[in-house]
């Protein structure tokens, strides 16, 4: 078990900056997720920690030791690849035993360890087969078993669930999390899937275009997104954004979206005078939009364009002139295409972003 620390890590490929002055620290036994869309630099970070890629700048510490110049074989790190990279010419047993054999473990100890990890991952029945014929989920387990067998200091997982179908993914998600809790293994997990990150991670680092956007617990990144990117990337259905400006009228702070206005006087403490007249982006999650078929006080009129009955809830798409909103309604909510509805926002869950810097204000 170990800690990992990276400072000012930077990597360029030609002119493209893949990772830009990144710093973070993963503590012992933590499940740390790196979340971001394709091209955010997630894989590059893992590869640099593993030693497969040389950083252009910055330092990597494993257990407080600088490892920039240590060969990958000597870092005592395990990694699973997106392509899994199992050795197709060997049996599953030999695949898992390979790292131990290279380290010259005695045969009986290898045997014991391989069987132990195989039963932990429920692949004992596969040991004498080649991995080529295994199913997607099984291959995934074999790759994890091979990584875990020598109890590495840090386990790096690169989008391990991206190649398996949705149902199995849900199951594997739970299993991986349970495994980690049991073994107290330090894990750095890269994924583009916010649901995976939210459900498994102790902390999430949200990345975009090589830059760190926010680090925090799942609760923090969901409820207190640091900027527009984080707010839009996390949560499904995605958060609604509405262009608006901040103004003052008769001592009230008013958010003007053109089609409607909201009174933000309650947020006086964070909304300094210098923000008045500025262009803003209001963010509200679909579950914080209440929809009613009856006209109500302070409610905004809109038109239904699509009702998505998802079973456990209904996602309703509403237009207010040219603003498109998604709202989560109770599961039995139904409305005709084009019918009128009235919308209210949960003001305590409102987010406000500066339109230029995209940083969160509220």
């Amino acid at each position: 078990m170990a800690t990992v620390k990276v400072c000012n890590l930077t990597k360029k490929f030609g002119n493209k900056i893949a990772v830009d002055h990144l710093s973070f620290k993963v503590s012992d036994g933590e499940f740390f997720c790196i979340l971001g869309p394709p091209g955010a630099g997630k894989t590059t970070i893992l590869r640099m920690i593993a030693g497969l890629e040389k950083p252009d700048e910055g330092e990597i510490y494993i257990d407080e030791q600088l490892v920039n110049d240590v060969l990958p074989a000597d870092r005592d790190i395990a990694m699973t690849f997106q392509s899994l990279a199992l050795y197709p010419q060997w049996t599953v047993y030999d695949n898992i035993a390979f790292p131990l054999r290279l380290r010259k473990y005695p045969a009986d100890e290898i045997d014991k360890k391989v069987k132990e990890v195989a039963s932990l991952l429920k692949i004992t029945h596969l040991l004498n087969r080649t991995p080529v014929l295994a199913s997607g989920g099984e291959k995934q387990r074999i790759a994890v078993a091979r990584a875990l067998v020598r109890s590495p200091k840090v386990l790096l997982l690169d989008e391990p669930l991206s190649n398996i179908d949705a149902l199995l993914r849900l199951e594997m998600r739970g299993e991986l999390k349970r495994l980690q809790t049991e073994l107290k293994q330090t894990i750095i997990y890269a994924t583009p899937d916010q649901l995976e990150a939210m459900s498994m991670a102790d902390r999430i680092a949200v990345m975009n275009a090589g830059k760190l956007q926010q680090i925090g617990t799942p609760d923090e990144v969901y409820n207190k997104p640091a900027n527009k990117f984080v707010a839009s990337y996390i949560g499904s259905p995605t958060i609604n954004f509405i262009d608006c400006t901040l103004t003052e009228k008769n001592g009230h702070i008013i958010l003007d979206a053109g089609e409607f206005t909201l009174d933000l006087t309650n947020f006086e403490s964070v909304l300094g005078k210098e923000l008045y007249g500025q262009e803003m982006l209001m963010g509200i999650r679909p579950e914080n939009v209440q929809v009613s078929k009856e006209r109500a006080k302070n409610a905004i009129e809109g038109k239904v364009v699509l009702v998505e009955p998802l079973g456990r809830m209904t996602v309703t798409h509403i237009v207010i002139n040219n603003i498109l909103l998604q709202a989560i309604c109770p599961e039995d909510f139904r409305a005709e295409y084009g019918s009128k509805v009235w919308v209210k926002f949960d003001m305590s869950r409102l987010h406000l972003f500066d339109k230029n810097t995209e940083k969160a204000i509220i």
């Binding site: 490892v67 060969l71 000597d74 870092r75």
Partner: protein
């Protein structure tokens, strides 16, 4: 962990170097050094019968001057080779593509027909030469079969006339290399994405329209590579043709390779041939760099 000494050959860069050094040695020994010698020799009148190459008389640019202004046979051979190359490759391409189109879906005997069509390209070219030499003899099977079909006694002496001799060379090349084009075109056709083809069908296109508007444009890059590779190979044309005609009658079927063999290794004017070889290498280098490389690297 970090201060453990690492054996030098385990460093990736060093290991890579170790792997590639044998190649460098052998390619430079047999490639680079002789090239330098050749450049020198091309400025002399060296002939192995007259002594060692470094003792030969230095004659400056005379060899090059002769190539350009005094050697009609050389340029005729070039023209002839280019002509053969163009018509052979063109025929092979049309036949190969046509045949490949018949193999895009499954039918009874597909494996047999594929293997049968591929067989000619696996015959050693020298053997092909002898095969066609036998077939086109005056008393050979081709004349016999033609007689049988036409009912008249046909006794064409194929190798005695320049035109008919050229024709047999053309036939031999087409026979041997159409299978290669077929194989290339077939692998191209099989690798095509099926969706655009089906899309065109559903939009109402007939088979011919699908071929013209969808398949052909999608095959373009592969066709370019196929024509290039085959063209380069055809320009080297030697083995079969040499066995069939030895360049004759006279010089009527002499290709560039045959001509250079004649001058260099029968008349032993190696200094002069060195100059010719260098010119061809130079032409090929330019061709490779500006035409082949862009097409090849696109893949």
């Amino acid at each position: 962990m970090q201060n453990k000494p690492v054996s030098w050959y385990k460093r990736p860069e060093k290991f890579a170097l170790l792997l590639i050094i044998p190649l460098q040695i052998i390619m430079n020994l047999v490639g680079l050094f002789p090239l330098i010698a050749e450049i020198y020799v091309s400025f002399t009148d060296w002939s192995p019968t007259s002594g060692e190459w470094y003792l030969a008389r230095f004659i400056g640019l005379e060899n090059y001057y002769r190539v350009f202004f005094r050697d009609r046979l050389f340029w005729e051979a070039i023209g002839r080779t280019l002509f053969l190359t163009v018509i052979c490759v063109f025929t092979e391409f049309l036949l190969g593509l046509g045949l490949a189109l018949l193999f895009t879906d499954n039918f009874f005997g597909k494996r047999f027909f594929t293997s049968a069509i591929l067989l000619p390209m696996m015959v050693v070219p020298a053997a092909t030469g002898y095969m066609f030499f036998m077939m086109f003899q005056k008393d050979g099977p081709v004349n016999a079969i033609l007689s049988l079909i036409t009912g008249q006694s046909i006794k064409v002496d194929w190798f005695v006339h320049g035109d008919t001799a050229m024709f047999t060379i053309y036939l031999a090349d087409v026979w041997q290399w159409t299978p290669f084009m077929f194989l290339l075109m077939l692998s191209g056709l099989l690798a095509l994405p099926q969706d655009p083809i089906n899309a065109a069908k559903v939009l109402g296109a007939s088979r011919l329209q699908v071929f013209r508007h969808v398949i052909l444009p999608m095959m373009k890059p592969l066709i370019a590579i196929a024509l290039l590779l085959r063209g380069i190979e055809a320009f080297k044309m030697f083995d079969a043709a040499y066995i069939m005609t030895h360049g004759g009658p006279g010089t009527a079927t002499q290709t560039v390779s045959m001509y250079m063999l004649e001058i260099g290794f029968r008349a032993w004017r190696l200094g002069y041939v060195a100059a010719e070889a260098l010119l061809i290498v130079l032409a090929m280098l330019l061709f490779a760099w500006f035409i082949v490389r862009p097409i090849f690297l696109k893949r």
